[in-house]
Structure formats: structure tokens, C-alpha cells
Subunit: 251 residues, 2 copies
Amino acid sequence: MTKTVTASMIIIGDEILSGRTKDANLTHLSLWLNRMGVQLREVRVIPDVGPVIQDTVNDLRVCYDYVFTTGGIGPTHDDITGENIAKAFGVPYVQSEQAFALLQNHYGGEGVSDARLRMTMIPKGASLIKNPVSAAPGFQIENVFVMAGIPIVMQSMLLDLEMRIFGGDKMLSKAIHVFEGESYFAGMLEEVEKEFPQVSLGSYPFFRNKRYGASFVLRSQVESDLDQALEMLKLKIGVMGKECFDGEAEL
Amino acid sequence: MTKTVTASMIIIGDEILSGRTKDANLTHLSLWLNRMGVQLREVRVIPDVGPVIQDTVNDLRVCYDYVFTTGGIGPTHDDITGENIAKAFGVPYVQSEQAFALLQNHYGGEGVSDARLRMTMIPKGASLIKNPVSAAPGFQIENVFVMAGIPIVMQSMLLDLEMRIFGGDKMLSKAIHVFEGESYFAGMLEEVEKEFPQVSLGSYPFFRNKRYGASFVLRSQVESDLDQALEMLKLKIGVMGKECFDGEAEL
């Protein structure tokens, strides 16, 4: 029996939707989760609008084992993630003494200004997520993890989550590449998938060094299934008189 | 009165969720939509799972004026977007003679193989979206536009949509930058936002050339509101004895 643990991600920010800023957190979070034995199953990008944040969090926290949000926890008026997570959970939004102490320590003599006080507020009952880069913490409430949007800060916050996430069996993956259009291989891919329904098999065309090709990516939580499916696919490609090349360890 | 037209985007593909592939279509689509007078309001990234595709399309097509999907319309077994869009609309999935002719013309003597036949199927009643790069078309059914996931193909398909999208008033934006932490400006940002509730005002911290700073981005469909809000913000920054710099035309 394999154990599957799932997650979703909510990217909060007008700047992503408007095209001004390219999200850089999805890929990083997904690869980190996979190392933790957690599969990212859905991502939503939503605007800085209170009721949308509340509804999205409440939709997703009952569907997945974990929910991760990025963005909207800074010191300015448009940083409204925290207060809306509190509303989503129906708990008061309160000052965290621990967060206040962290900020006071970080800013020293400069002190915690009114604006920075905003970054000491958390939903009642939440625990802090450490921010080694710029002190202002994220927080965890039940299965929801609220993190910064700035990639280097978000990435540093994940370090503090390693002991709070309980993963299942990791998704393993292997890839092979061919230098020919994927449609030539469609029939055999289907056959392999029918023979190994527990192995997910993706076909991704590419155009590299002026040559068309495709990567076939096999994914499974059971290594022996993965190896057998890969062996079968390689055999079929060989029988067809085509060449394939082992891929890097991509997911 | 301003006219607001909205859109959502569905990015379909296990390879995005697994972290293997970085999405490159969100930003391009968003900027294109903005030029068309359409605001991207929500993005969902979902796996290649039939019922999830159906539910997501049916959720979003009633909430937004337009829905755009990317991914899953190629020749292999894992390209299941088309058939599930047909199911979402409750219409048969049928061969398009027009699509067949396009592929036959593109592949010439090589012909339309069984695998490629897959790319001639569309939901009954859909119209094709031209693919100048690799022939295999996307399609439109009602307010849903189904496009390829490969960025260059997706971008080329947008050329064929310019006459099918009816936008509203464009979202205009102006930005200024300061070289100081955003928390110093939090109070005045809030004042400007209260004075101009119809102008959205975002504050985005950055770290560039070893200096901390922040970009303040103002967005509105009414140019005079935008200009007045910007003027007020610049005045307040000046009164505080700080410098600000006009930004590029970013969204």
C-alpha cells in the first residue's frame, strides 16, 4: 500500500495576475514538497481581495492535506492575507508577542513602526513560521501555511516547515527522450499506460538544437512499477527501430 | 461609467504541478488580455485528470466573461483536454473536417497518422483556432478558448483571437519607485488609497544593486483618477523629504 499526501498552493497577488511579476514560487514549492513526500495537486492564483482569499482557503483546506499560500503578508495596506485567513477560520486577528520580539530584535534601535506592527499580527491560535531573511514571520494555522511572496524569503521559510510536514511515499520519476515527433510513439505510449495504469506517463514535445523531439516522463510511487514500465517502453521503441536516450532525473 | 471585462485561465498539465516545467504562458496571456481590455482575475493550475478539467471549466465559465485553457491538446494519450471540454459542455466529441484538411496540408505526403487524428477532434459546435506554427488547431466553444501549452504555439494562436474578444476599458497603470523600505510609506499609501478607492495601489518591495526599495504601482481604468492619485502620492513622498523615481510602464 502506498501512502499519498496532497497539497495545494494559493498564490495571492494582483501583480502576478496583471503580468507585472512572474511567479517564481510554484516550481520551488513543488520540488520541495516532492522531496517531503507530498504531491502538489492544484494551484490557484487570486487577487488581493478579502472575500476571494477567504473562500479559496476554505475551499482548499478541506480538499487537500496541506495548503500553502504566498504573498500579502508585508507592512502595507495591500497586505491583507493574514486578516483574511483569520476570517476564513473564524478566529480573531491578534498581535503575537513572539512576532513583536522578533521584529524588535531585527530592527534594533530603529524600532517597530506602526507599519511594521502589521507584521506582528496573526490569527489567534496560529504558530509562527521563522523568516531567517527579514525577520517578519509567516504563520501556520491548522493545515494552512502562510508565507511571504518574495522568493528568497518564501524559500527560507520552508526550512522551518520540514518538521511540520508529514509526507507519504515520494513520487518517483524517470524520463527518456527521443528525437522525433511524439505522434510516432502515441500508440506504444498508450499500450504502456494500459499495461501499467498505476504509472503516470506524460509525453512532452520539444524543439532543441533545431531538432524536434519528445520527453516521455514516467511517474509512480512504486519503484519496481516504474522500472518495469520504462523497460517496456524502451523495448517498444527499440523494436520500432528508433533510438532513445536516458533523461536527467526530472520530475 | 467604465466597462470591465474579465477572464480566467486554466493551465492544464501534470508537468507544471510537478515542477518539471515552468509555466511561461500566464504572463504572456495576461499582458495580451490587458491590451485587449480584458482583466485576468483568476488562474488555476490543474492536473491531466478528466473530471477535474470538466469541473474547473464549468466553475469558471459562468464566473468570467472569457476562459482560456493551455495544454493537453497534442497527439498522445495524455492529451485529454478536448474530450473533457466536450463533456463539460455536454456535447459530442467529433472529427473536424477543417482540422483534418489543415493537418493533411501541413504533413503532406507523410499524412495524418492515427495519432495525429486525435488532433482533428473537437467538441461539436466549436470553431477552430488557427495554429500558424504547427498546424494542429485549438478551438473555441462559447466563451472558452482551448489552446496549446507550448508557449510559441500558444502565443501564435492568440493572433487568431483578436477579433473574437470584446474588451472593456483597459486597465491603465503607472509606477514609481523609492529606494527605502516600503514600511516608511505605509501610512501615506493608505491615505492615497482611501482618497482614491477606485485606484488600486500595490506596494512591491525589491532588493536591487544591494539597495532595498519598493515599487508603488497604481492601476485604474480612468486615466484622470490615476494621474491625480499619483500626484498625491508624489507630493506626500516629497513632503516626507524622500525621493521617488518614475517607473517604466509596468502593469
